[in-house]
Symmetry: D2
Subunit: 272 residues, 4 copies
C-alpha cells in the first residue's frame, strides 16, 4: 500500500475525529439508524422517532436508491431529501444519505450532513473527485469485492481532492456463501484500523440481510474496534419498499441499543 499518502496512520499520526451534530465519529461509538429508503413523511418521522428515542445519533435514509432492477422503486429523489432535512431538524440529528451522481453533489450538500458513496460506486472516480471538492463529510462504503487496499485508495482519491472528512464503511463482501446476503468482514475492519486514521463504520444490515443476525454482529463490530454502526430500522418492516428482511423493528433496535451500551461501557474500561 505504498501508494497511499494521506490515508495512512503515519500521515496524520492521530485518529481523525469528525464531528457532526452531537456525534464525534472516531472518538466514540456512534450508531446511525433509519429506513433503507425514505418512503413518506409519516414513515420517516415515525422511524426517526423510534431510533432517536433509543439513542441513535445520526439519521439515515435513502432518497436516491441504486437498484439492481431498473424497473423497481428508485427512491423519492429531492422530495425525499426535503423530508430527510425536515426530520433532521425536527429530531436535531445530522443526516446521512447516498449521492450517486457527480452532478448532484453541490446541491446535496444543502441537505446532507454526511454524503454516502455506495458500494457500487466505490470506484466511480468522477464521483469521488467531486465529493473531494466539498467539505461535507463523506462515508465511503467498501465495494462488494474490494480489497482493503482498493478501499483505502478510493478514500485517498477523496482526500487528495481536498476533503479531509472521510469515513469508511464496511458493509459485507461477496463470497460463495448464500445463506447470508453478503459476508461481514470484521477482519478487514481490524486490519484497516491498524493502517488508517480514518473512522470506520460497520453496516451489518447490508452485510447479512437477515434481521436476527444484526444484533450479534453489531456487538461483534463494537468489540472488534469499529467506530460505529449504521443499521436499517423501519416502523413497519413488513411493508418496507426495499430490504424488508433486514430492517429491524423499533423494539429490536431498542433492545440492541441497551446491549450495545452495556458492552460499550465494558469496552471503555478494558484492562491493559
Amino acid at each position: 500500500m505504498g501508494h497511499l499518502k494521506l490515508a495512512p496512520r503515519q500521515y496524520a499520526n492521530h485518529q481523525t475525529v469528525i464531528t457532526v451534530g452531537n456525534a464525534r465519529l472516531g472518538a466514540e461509538f456512534v450508531v446511525m439508524a433509519g429506513p433503507c429508503a425514505v418512503e413518506s413523511r409519516e414513515q420517516m418521522f415515525e422511524t426517526a422517532k423510534m431510533v432517536c428515542d433509543s439513542g441513535a445519533k445520526v439519521l439515515r435514509g435513502g432518497a436516491f436508491k441504486p437498484r439492481t432492477n431498473p424497473y423497481s422503486f428508485q427512491g423519492l429523489g429531492y422530495e425525499g431529501l426535503e423530508i430527510l432535512r425536515e426530520a433532521g431538524k425536527h429530531f436535531e440529528r445530522p443526516i446521512v444519505t447516498e449521492v450517486m451522481d457527480p452532478r448532484d453533489v453541490g446541491k446535496m450538500t444543502d441537505y446532507a450532513d454526511i454524503l454516502q458513496i455506495g458500494a457500487r460506486n466505490m470506484q466511480n472516480y468522477s464521483l469521488l473527485k467531486e465529493v473531494g471538492t466539498v467539505t461535507t463529510p463523506v462515508m465511503l462504503k467498501r465495494g462488494l469485492c474490494a480489497t482493503v487496499d482498493e478501499w483505502l485508495s478510493c478514500a485517498e482519491y477523496i482526500l487528495a481532492a481536498g476533503n479531509p472528512n472521510v469515513l469508511l464503511c464496511e458493509r459485507g463482501i461477496r463470497t460463495y456463501e448464500t445463506a447470508t446476503r453478503n459476508t461481514l468482514d470484521l477482519s478487514a475492519v481490524a486490519l484497516a484500523k491498524t493502517i488508517t486514521h480514518l473512522p470506520i463504520i460497520v453496516d451489518p444490515s447490508h452485510a447479512v440481510g437477515v434481521r436476527e443476525l444484526i444484533e450479534p454482529l453489531s456487538m461483534a463490530a463494537l468489540a472488534a474496534g469499529a467506530d460505529g454502526i449504521i443499521v436499517e430500522v423501519h416502523c413497519n418492516p413488513a411493508v418496507a419498499l426495499c430490504d424488508r428482511e433486514q430492517a429491524l423493528t423499533g423494539d429490536d433496535f431498542a433492545r440492541m441499543m441497551r446491549r450495545l451500551n452495556h458492552l460499550n461501557n465494558a469496552m471503555q474500561s478494558l484492562p491493559e
Copy 2:
C-alpha cells in the same frame, strides 16, 4: 431474471447485430485491439498499424483511465481522444474507448464509435442512463464480482433508457486465485448467450493479465461461442504506461490472428 424485459432472447427473438465500420458485431467473430492507454501519437499509430495489418476490425485505446492509485497516470483525456480519432480515420477503423463520467457522454460521441463502460462503473446507474440517451453503441463490461443477472440488469438500464445498441463484455471475475489477475469466466459467456440477444465480447487481457495465456483463452472464447474479443497490444510492451505484463507484441498478435482465423473457419462449418 424475471425483471428483464428488453435484454432476453424472447424480446428480440433474434441475435442483435451492431454494425460499426466493417465490423458486424453479433454476426461474425470480431477482434478489437490496441493499447491499454493512448500514450502518444507515435505509439498509437505504430500499434494501430500492427493490429490493422493483422486483421483487427476495431481499434481500442484508453484516454480516460480508471486507476486504483490516484497518483498514477490517468490517461491523456481529450488530447488522447483526438489522437484516437485521427488513428481511426487513418486506418479506417472504428474506435472503442472508455467513458467514465456522465458529463462527458455527449462530447465523447464525437470521438468514439463504441463507448465502453468499465467494470468499475458497471453499476454506475447515472452513467448507464446517460449512455442510454445516445445511439452510439455501448460496450458494457461485467463488474469484477457481478453475477450474470446483475450484468444483464445493467444492460437493461441502457436499453430501457432508449439505446438498443448494447454489447456485453466478459473481462474476468475476481476469485481467490492469485496466479492470474482475474479468472476468465467462459461459463458466464456460454450462459449469457442462452439468455440474451446482445453480442458478447471477451477481454482475455484483463481477465488473466499474463501474456502467454491470451492466445489459448482467445481460442477458447471463440470456441465457447463469443462474438469477439478485445485484446491489448502495444508496439513496445516493456515501456507501456499501464498493464505492460498483459500487452501482446505485434508478432504475438499476428500469430494469434492466424490461429483464430483457422479455428474460426472450422467453427463456421460445424456439423449438426
Copy 3:
C-alpha cells in the same frame, strides 16, 4: 511454486503421456464419459454403449459417491465396481472411478484403470500418499477453492510417493456466481499447461451443472489446450439418482462428439 520438484515442466522436460487402453492421455484429446453413479447393470451398459458408439475412449462411473447429504444415495460400492469392471471388459474400455478411503486403494486397483481423487479429497494427504504407492494412474481433481499452486502441490504428493502417472482435472471452482453450479476456470488450465508436464482434463459437467452449457464449454476446453474432458452421460437423465440436471443424453453426447472431432481436426493443423 518453488517447492515443486517433480511436477514442473523443467523436471520432465517433456509432456507426460499416460496410456490406458486405447487412450494416450497427454498425446491426444481424450473423452471420458459415463454416468455420475453406477445405478444398475442395465443403466451402466446402456449408457456405456451410447458413449462408446460415439467415440468415448474411457468409461466413467461412480461406485463410492461423496454426497453432501449423509442420508442420500452413497453409491453401490463394490457391487458397483463389479458392474463397472464388467462394462469395461464388454466395451473394451478402461475405467475411471473415484476412491475415497486409503483403505480401499489396494483393492480398487483390481477394478479401476484410473483412480479418481475427488475435489473434496484433493488435500486428503493420507489418501494422496496411499495412491502414490501404486502404479495405477490417478486423476486428481482440483479442489473447489484450490489455487493452481495447491493443486500442483497435491500432485507433487502423489509423485513424491512414487506414482508418476498423475492426471490433473479442472472441475470448476466456487465463486459468488449462482447461475451455474461452479465456475469453469480455463485460465487455470492454460496456466497449468505452462507449468507442468502432467496431462490436464476438464470436467464441464460438474463445473457448470447445466446441460446446455456442456457442449460450448467442452469446445472451449479443447481450444484452450486441455488434454481431454470427462462428461456425465445418462441413458435417461430424468431418472438419474444424482446430478440429473447436468447429464447429457446419448443424442446430446453424439452431437457434441461430432463437433469436438471437427474442431480437434482444426486444432491439429494450427498455423504457426
Copy 4:
C-alpha cells in the same frame, strides 16, 4: 437445510454442552491455546505453562500437520502425541489435536481429549464416519470454502454415525482478499448459532494469520456469541516451525485473556 436431522436446534431443543476437563463447551466461553505444532518437549511445556497460567482451559498442539508443501515439516506424529499427553497430564488440561487418517482414529483416542478434523478434511467422509464410531469429542473445522449448510451436513455425518459430541470451528474462509490469510466469517457463526445446538468455536489465528488482529477478532467472536476460541501461542514465535506470523507470544496472550475476561463479564450481564 431440510436434510439435517440431528444437528438442528429443533432436534435437541437445548444447547449441547460437552465437558472435557474443566471446560464446559457450550456453557461457558472456553479458550483453547498452544502451539501450531509440537516441536519438542521443551517448546510444548514452556508454551503450555504460559497459556495455562493465563487461563487457557484446553491445550492445543499438532502432531500430524497437513502441509501444502509435501517437503516441509509434517509434524512429529506419535512422538508428538506422547509429548502432548504428558503436557496435558502435567498441566491438568485436556488436549485437542488433529487426526488426518481414519486408520489413526482408534489409536488417537488414547491421546486426545478432543479430535480435530481440519479444514482440508471437512468433507473426508471416511474420516467423518470413523470419528463417528468413537465417543471422544470431535471439533470439526469449516472447510475453506464450505457453506454453513455443508459444514452442518458434515457434522450430521458424525452425529449419524453415533458420536453426539461434536464441536464446530469457524477458521476463516477463502475470499479474494489477500491482506489477511483468510477472512474470518462471524456472520456464519451468528447464523450457525441460530440453526444448531452444537457449540461453535472460532479460530482467529488461521482466519487472519496476522498477530495484531488476533485480539480484536477474539473479542469480536466473544461478542458475536461464539462458545470459545482456539488460538496459536508459541514460547518463541520467531523460531516456530510453522505459522510463525500468527502465533501470539505469552505476553500477547496474557493481555488478551485479561481483556476477554473483562468483556466476558459484561456479556454475562447483558440487559434484555
